[in-house]
Amino acid sequence: MKRLAVAALLLALAACGVRGKDQTSVIRRRLDGEPKTLNPILATTDAEQIVVALLSRNLLDYDENLNLVPGLAEEVSDSPDHLVFTVRLRPDARWEDGTPVTSADVVFTLNAVMDPKVPALTRRSFFEGLVKAEAVDARTTRVTFKTPSAGRRDAFNLWLLSAAAWKDGDLATHPRNRNPLANGPYRVGSWEPGRTLSLVRNTQYAGPAAPAEQVVFRVVPETAPAFAGLQSGDLDEMRLTFAQKKDVDAKAGTPGAPRAVTFDELSYAYFGWSNRSPLFSDRRVRRALTMLIDRESINRNLYGGLAKLANGPLPPAHWAWNSSITPWPYDPKAAEALLDEAGFRKGPDGIRHRGNLRFAFTFSLGMGSDVQRQMVELAQQSFRKAGIDMQIQPLEWAAFAAKMDAGELEAWAAALNLDPYPDLGVSWHSAQVPPTGLNNASYRNPEVDGLLDRLRSTFDRGEAIRLLGEVQRLVHEDEPVSFLNTPLTKWGVSGRIEGVKTSPYGLFLFWPGASAWRPAAGSRPIS
């Protein structure tokens, strides 16, 4: 009888499983979509990257101020000609199975990134011009490039693959892509597709042990149920809309209630104008359009004051942001004068004309953002008063992105997210005008081209800041697009979670990011 009782007790304990784990040491997070892969070099979506960020250290990590700091590599140095990089791994870096992280893993990863049979689209672009990667010894790798590039060091913000785990089979479809070998603070515990992905503490991790014993990601595609989950304690974090933040703020101070965390990110919103169009080829017209948009009012009313005016192609959170540039003011009278000066005069129909050219155009936007749609509608009203006929055309997102990238849109609304070391040439160099690149506004300024070319071989950070400052000034003067604002990112975090730090790179993709989050002592989820 005693044996039976003990067996029943053991069974009951086993059945508890995850639920039976001490809930004070579990963090419950939200994914807005199912990760399709956890392969570190194939992970591209936000959902994939925020999970991999807990499983893997980069060779070099970004800290909260976007400085590159040692990760798996204790050092990455380059030759005087910036063509050869030497990667020296930490001696204590280990995979979750206890085997050391070696230069063979670095070589394997770089070869995989460059393999045309591996769809590592975004990673490959960082390593264009790679000649070879070779192991010097177990901890040292030599990486040789064809040409020097100023942002190359940032390419080593790279998660690694274990050569032993991934060596056999097709990397794109490898079973390890859903159960990767971890070298970070957590490892994959279990994965119930479409529902939950559970990470547990990686006991082989060489750094300080993760504060939470377990992180459970739950796939919640819709915002409303996720917000209900945040408030009920079923979830410990989620991105908030402005309305949800107001709700969170209203309950601030209530025991157990979530709190709002806000921070600047490397992004800005803009209205794009095709500089090829005869309507928008004159910079006076483009400036006038910006000056007709009441961005202060938009920031106040649509963002609840949680947005800053944008003054150019870099947001305030960036290390090279030029703070001396004053954004174009909201000034309809001056804007109308600029339009007159550019030859666009009001006709009897109330619409401006220049010769036979009527100031009427189609403005496209990808469906999905209510705030963006409202901004466009406000601009439409303002433009109409100034004699500009703007028709709004909502497009399905993929169709919108394809047309924008092909340079087929006349005018459009979009937002841009930047990398910590952004190559402004991608968006503003004349060589990148579609179909070859992403200069969707088809902006051309030889002076800007020259500065961007110089930046590619400028390795001194001070000089890079100076050149980038000048690029921002010139682009601001030309206003190829209407730079609108940089909205603050709003996040709701459960009141029981401590150690939350922010960075311009978000909450999760810098070091230590969410791996430092810890449930407060004695706290537990409400439910």
């Binding site: 194939l42 591209t44 769809p119 490959r124 264009e128 796939v219 819709e222 993929a398 439910s527």
Partner: protein, 322 residues
């Protein structure tokens, strides 16, 4: 009868091929390059080189002419090989088989619930047309039928899970309890539609001279209703087939609201990512369900009413046939 079944089966197969060709053509012609969408998945403005994009297209055969791609896919699908997903490189069949159980469970449970609610409600309303029950069920049914399932689901979720805490917020949070709200959300509009349909069929059958004759012979109201239901079997079968597409379409939204990892969400993601192999396989599946349901309805109708076997034959009015 065999000729009829074979004719209907051939027509069903052609319909399937037509639907697949249409979906393929529309998606292939729609703006949006799968390689560019994959590159944009991270939302950052990193430039992806034309070489990297070209390698992606070659890897997945996107550089082949559309007709060739469609032909290859159909031939493989005939052998139950639905290709590789452009989103994650996994076999499409494996992705769908992972998502299908949740969708099937949801849809079957919703269909049963809708039948359990809708048929008795329709019969009760038909027994006294214009009565209080008829008016109430009519108004409620119209309201439910007109409410988008997305809105209905959100309201139910926020009230019963968020506020009253009677059901879990997420479908996996409480075993069967987790499926209650998704099933109710999907079932209610269907039940409303079903109730109106049953009411109409039964009411007209009860108003029929044959029913009056039955009453004159002293037949009870239960027997009259049973006879009316038997006479409405053919339209019921046709209506059952018509319910399948609305359930499939409704479940796409309901799965999103309740975080159910089903085929609906998979389809929505695949369309956004221009993941043609996945979209085609799911189209084949959902269109297959609809076509099979319509085929079965035709067969059932043909068995119950032999006049429908030959569409060319003139149909006698229902009253006469009875």
């Amino acid at each position: 009868m065999l000729r009829f079944v074979l004719r209907r089966a051939a027509s069903a197969l052609l319909t399937l091929l037509g639907v697949l060709a249409l979906v393929f053509g529309l998606l292939a012609a729609a703006p949006g390059d799968p390689a560019a969408m994959a590159a944009k998945a991270g939302a950052r403005a990193s430039a992806v080189s034309p070489e990297a994009l070209a390698a992606f297209r070659t890897l997945y055969g996107l550089n082949r002419p559309p007709l060739e791609r469609f032909g290859i896919w159909v031939l493989r699908a005939a052998r139950f090989d639905f290709g590789i997903s452009l989103s994650d490189g996994r076999p499409v069949g494996a992705r769908i088989s992972g998502a299908l159980p949740a969708t099937l469970t949801l849809n079957l449970a919703a269909l049963l619930a809708a039948l359990a609610l809708g048929v008795p409600a329709g019969i009760a309303a038909a027994r006294r047309p214009g009565g209080r029950l008829d008016r109430i069920s009519g108004a409620l049914g119209d309201a439910l039928f007109a409410t988008p399932s997305f809105v209905l689901g959100l309201v139910l979720l926020l009230v019963f899970s968020g506020w009253l805490r009677l059901t879990p917020l997420f479908s996996d949070g409480g075993g069967i309890r987790g499926y209650v709200l998704p099933v109710v959300t999907l079932a209610l509009p269907t039940a409303a539609f079903l109730a109106r349909f049953v009411r109409s069929c039964v009411a007209s059958a009860l108003a029929d001279p044959a029913a009056a004759a039955g009453r004159a012979r002293g037949e009870g109201s239960g027997a009259a209703v049973r006879r009316a239901l038997r006479r409405s079997a053919a339209p019921f079968a046709a209506m059952g087939a018509a319910l399948v597409p609305s359930l499939v379409a409704g479940s796409v939204l309901v799965e999103r609201v309740f975080s159910v990892p089903g085929a609906g969400g998979l389809l929505a993601d695949a369309v956004f990512a221009r993941d043609l192999p996945t979209v085609l396989a799911l189209t084949l599946l959902s269109a297959g369900c609809v076509v099979v349901a319509a085929f079965l309805a035709d067969v059932v109708s043909a068995v119950l009413d032999p006049r429908t076997r030959d569409a060319a034959a003139p149909l006698a009015p229902a009253g006469e046939a009875a």
